[in-house]
């Protein structure tokens, strides 16, 4: 919205400025418009990994993307940092479309957006020392080796790794330590946006807790914006400001994290939350679980109408026919469902907040 209004405005730049100032806090760091990413396969068919995503990520926020395998969440994350080209639609960073800028401008945009992948071991070159892996991005960006290494040491310290790790090789480190190295490496370039693709999925819970705490601290200290991609509801609910629920290449629900995990408005979100095993004693767990039938359909040939209608327990005739648009149901909370607001979805009782644990004798 911002850039086109300014450009079209021309003579009324002052007005444009005023409008920008007014909603300055809402100016997204990243914005996608009708983003589509299709991968051609055989016979003219294509995998519609991302199929029309509008997304706005505010600076300084953690934007969680949750979905099952095949929902397109990783492809979306890769597109946000420029690793995959959009088939259609656009991605704007600070209102600049990366597809239209010059090469050098794109290079500097790359510095601003980084991604961390799931497997911390596979992401590190086994033949490079940790110091070399961490300083490499800076050297590519044109820094001297000396300056790069000094910064690398500083970053390693910042992620909680002592200096002696610098001379080691990846196989000498534990999973949690390798995770820290990957975080350090992406942060040496001082990016603004960090896409975290399932980065704690392979870690044990106590290590996972350390890494999540580290990411929270770094976000505060460095003013980072995170896009947090995961299939883990506990993790996404814990770290996110806003959450998007993705199903077969589209967002079916986007809203404030705490609203989404406590009062979902889309039947798919309801089912996802309900399926999550709860680590609480039996009298504090919700009673009925919604068990979806079947598997997620193929993204090559997604169902017509609402993509979720084949597995939805509330589906009616219109759901197979018309694709529901994402519309605002509550302030800042959008849902793509024909019956959003009319359905009596189960309220989620995640986190036994009303319960005082019997701390007496068990």
């Amino acid at each position: 919205m911002g850039p086109s209004a300014l450009l079209a405005g021309g003579g009324v730049a002052v007005e444009g400025d005023a409008s920008v100032t007014k909603d300055k806090t809402d100016l997204p760091l990243v914005e996608t418009t009708e983003l589509k990413i299709h991968f051609p396969i055989r016979h003219g068919l294509s995998v519609k990994a991302v199929d029309g995503v509008d997304m706005k990520v505010r600076a300084g926020d953690t934007f969680g993307v949750i979905g099952e395998s095949g929902s397109g969440k990783s492809t979306l994350g890769r597109a946000l940092v420029g690793l995959v080209r959009p088939t259609a639609g656009s991605i704007h960073h600070r209102s600049v479309d990366s597809a239209t800028v010059s090469r050098s401008a794109r290079q500097s945009m790359r510095r601003d957006r980084q991604i961390i992948f799931q497997d911390p071991h596979a992401a590190l070159n086994p033949r490079m020392r940790i110091l070399d892996s961490v300083s490499e991005p800076l050297i590519i960006a044109g820094e001297t080796r000396r300056a790069a290494e000094a910064r690398a040491y500083a970053m390693l310290d910042r992620v909680g790794l002592e200096a002696h790790f610098a001379a080691r090789y990846p196989h000498e480190l534990s999973g949690g330590q390798k995770s820290r190295v990957n975080i350090a490496r992406t942060l040496t370039l001082e990016p603004k946006l960090l896409v975290c693709d399932e980065i704690v999925a392979a870690l044990d819970v106590s290590i996972q807790a350390e890494i999540l705490n580290l990411l929270a601290r770094l976000q505060r200290d460095m003013g980072l914006t995170y896009v947090f991609i995961t299939h883990d509801l506990g993790v996404v609910g814990h770290v996110s400001d806003r959450i998007a629920v993705m199903y077969l290449g589209v967002f079916v629900e986007v809203g404030p994290a705490q609203r989404i995990v406590s009062r979902p408005l889309h039947p798919y979100t309801e089912a996802l939350l309900s399926a999550e095993p709860e680590p609480y004693p039996s009298d504090l767990r919700r009673g009925e679980r919604i068990i979806l039938k079947g598997d997620i359909p193929s993204p090559v040939n997604p169902p017509a109408g609402c993509r979720f209608h084949t597995r939805c327990r509330y589906a009616r005739e219109i759901c197979a026919r018309e694709r529901p648009a994402l519309r605002e149901q509550e302030p800042g909370h959008e849902v793509a469902c024909h019956f959003a607001g009319d359905l009596a979805l189960a309220e989620q009782k995640h986190g036994p907040r009303t319960v005082t644990p019997q701390e007496g004798e068990a």
Binding site: A216, V235, G237, L272, Y280, V355
Partner: protein, 327 residues
Amino acid sequence: MTALLSVRNLGVSMRTRQGPLHITERISFDLAPGERVGLVGESGCGKSVTGLALMGLLRRRTSTVSGEILLEGRDMNAMREAERRRLRGASIAMVFQEPMSALDPVFTIGEQIGESLRSHFRTPRREARERAIDMLARVGIPDPARRCDEYPHQLSGGMRQRAMIAIALACEPKVLVADEPTTALDVTIQAQVIDLLLRMSEDLGTAMIFITHDIGVVAETCQRVLTMYLGQIVEDAPTDTVLARPRHPYTSGLMRSLPRLGAWKEPLPSIPGRVPSLAAVPAGCRFAPRCTYARAECGAAQPMQEGPWGQARCWQAGALQLKGTLA
């Protein structure tokens, strides 16, 4: 309560160049008929090795299994391989984490289900196929007659896991060891598979040992939880009791580090330090170097303490006020 399976001082050690490495030590627990017990702990604590030892699937050339594994009073660990093979699949069966690598790609699903029936009960081929179709229907695979003749690669991940459960339960074993049976699955498919395992356990009266790192899965499936740390069971208690108030500081640390929906953006309590190597196991309480409650007494070896709440390998178990998964 007469135990169906009684494990006594089970220890597994692996032969290495530096001498034997003790992976697990003095694992003892009982399993009642139809009971479901969770075995939880972090990577490397020895839970999968314990599962494989129960099944007798560890290579004898590289590993030694000591202690007793009494199935209905008969020590499987003292049996000859031929004798043990008669029990494996028929009386005690296993489901693995990754169905694609556990299934044989060159045999149809039906053949793989029928195989154990044919070898254990000499079921004729045609009857075995009928039983296979019946099993596939019971584990909720649509169109079982067609799926029976398909190969593993033609099935989705969730269906493969159902097929593996069908194989494991074809002979209606008394004990099922399930090693991370839902870890590779999406949460909605995980819910389906958990539901299936619970239903099968109730219908067939199968006792289950759930090996998992996911305390949520244990809470939804098991009556009892065994927590393992560095090759030992450190706590053995009923699920509801341990979730509300664990007695071993490690169990508490594990539970408290879980991010939970609702505790938004609060720093997560994590366990200080890291798991030591099995080659350098601390003397006395193995968890003491990382434990915030450690005292001088922890330098001595810790036997299991028993109380109305269960058992824990910590001399302070009766006194400590520890937090579980409740905030």
